[in-house]
């Protein structure tokens, strides 16, 4: 997969996504939104996948819960991965399912060594079922939890060593978490193992409507300039990687999102390490 820029695929943009002739464009979806027996959503995805590389970015596997991944969810994910042959499957360093309830959010946990064992086992289980390695994404954090044995960057690096998984670096999440918990985003990014990074996410954030000083990872605004600057810093260090513009709320016109995507694309083409300056979509 050439390291080009992609866009999160939204149902209101299906027709334009299918018709776009942008070079190197790929798409990403949440597999949970396609875990259906049939229907037009799956048909649109099939049509778009026939023309473009696809990434499956899960939000529901709950890798950081102290329980085995749900076999039904894993089977549904495997069925989608087999059907759509994505170039990457990713998930989050977070939990959402616990004791039969699914909380539709990416929840935090104390990064203990015991948690590391459990999550490595869960990633291993998921990779065994899927028959491929996955990428694991850094979460956005809102609580200054104590009781961590490892920094998040150490924790992620250790997961890659133990399981062979890669990393999906969400630069906006780094920015949001660093602001909320009071550390330097640059230091965090510099500590990530370059070789493990398989994809980058860029998204927008907002202020807390509740009135606190917290930044919220809303995916509801354009990518902020400080996040673009961190992205520049990251790809200057590690070289180009497939980069996604994520937008899940207050969704604007397709062309508006493509303008952000094109900005990332131009930055990728400009990095010296790019092996494919006129990248075409991977043969699919």
């Amino acid at each position: 997969m050439p390291p080009t820029a992609g866009l999160g695929l939204k149902p209101q943009h299906y027709a334009e996504a299918l018709a776009s002739d942008a070079k190197g464009l790929w798409f990403e979806v949440h597999p949970e939104n396609y875990m259906a027996a049939g229907g037009p959503r799956l048909r649109w995805l099939e049509a778009i996948r026939a023309r473009r590389p696809l990434s499956l970015h899960g939000v529901g596997l709950s890798l950081a819960a102290d329980v085995d991944p749900d076999p039904g969810h894993l089977a549904a994910l495997k069925a989608l991965a087999d059907r759509f042959a994505p170039f990457v499957v990713s998930e989050h360093l977070a939990w959402s399912a616990w004791r039969g309830v699914h909380q539709p959010d990416l929840l935090p946990f104390p990064r203990t060594r015991a948690a590391l064992d459990r999550i490595a086992a869960n990633i291993g289980r998921a990779q065994d079922v899927l028959g491929r390695t996955i990428l694991v994404e850094n979460p956005s954090l809102y609580l200054p939890l104590t009781g961590h044995d490892l920094d998040e960057t150490e924790f992620l690096a250790e997961l890659t060593r133990r399981t062979g998984c890669g990393l999906l670096v969400d630069v906006n999440n780094v920015f949001v978490s660093a602001s909320n918990l009071g550390y330097a985003a640059e230091t965090y990014l510099d500590a990530l193992p370059a070789d493990a990074i398989g994809e980058i996410h860029l998204a927008g954030h907002g202020a807390d409507e509740g009135g606190s000083a917290l930044l919220i990872d809303t995916h509801g605004a354009p990518v902020a300039e400080p996040v673009w600057a961190l992205y520049r810093r990251l790809i200057d260090r590690i070289g180009p990687r497939p980069t996604l513009i994520e937008r899940d709320d207050d969704i604007p016109a397709f062309d508006e999102l493509m303008a952000e995507r094109d900005r990332a694309h131009r930055m990728l083409l400009g990095t010296g390490a790019c092996a494919c300056p006129h990248a075409e979509p991977a043969h699919v």
Binding site: A37, W98, G100, D105, Y142, G210, I216
Partner: protein, 256 residues
Amino acid sequence: MSELAAFQDAFVAALAERTAAPIAGWLPEDDTELAGLAVYRNTIAKGCVDALAANFPTVASLVGDDWFRAAAALFAREHPPATAALLAYGEAFADWLARFPPAGDLPYLPAMARLDWMWTTALFAPEARPLPAEAFALAPDVLAAARPRLHPSLAFAWFHSGLPGLWLAAREPEPGEMTLAEDPQGVLIVRPEDTVHSRLLDAAGFAFLAAARDGASLGEAITAAAHADPAADLATLFAALIADGVFVGLDLGDSA
């Protein structure tokens, strides 16, 4: 219990109880951090409410955004999602609305939710190719003995008032005057290809489909339709169901 499991129990309790007390052991001593906890709680609520708004669009349009989001958030606290696939979330919403005191003066609302749920379920039902009209060009006795297989997306129901008509009117892009007819009505919802199709069903049509769903032959189903409404135009009824894409197969049995 592991520390991770203990934390997860405590975090769920903190979300439900709206206090950081259950996770105080994992927070700095000088800091109750309710703002951070509220972010998670709000995100969870928004995820549930957005999913319900997508799955129950007619209910949402009838009661307005503020009412819907407040009600949906309460529903989500009592009936949180069981799986990550939120396109299948809300099966209990119609029954819950029927018991929800603020909906007491909106007696049509649970039926609107039930019809929305039928529509949403049809949208994500398995694919199947409807039989074309030519497939029914059989000898009369063969046709009468054939047992139809119904489209997996098909849903139909009978109501003791005009609730289906109200629902269909409310789903128009620009709903006009909406009135609730007193006469009983049925509804048919099916997704023969990419688009969910819904229309009113009369007593004969409902009786036909109910019989077919229970395994009747076409002849038996037509008889059931004639019993339900002796004045029904049975040929037109049957042709309309074929055009709706309701039938995906015919089991011809031994007479074939």
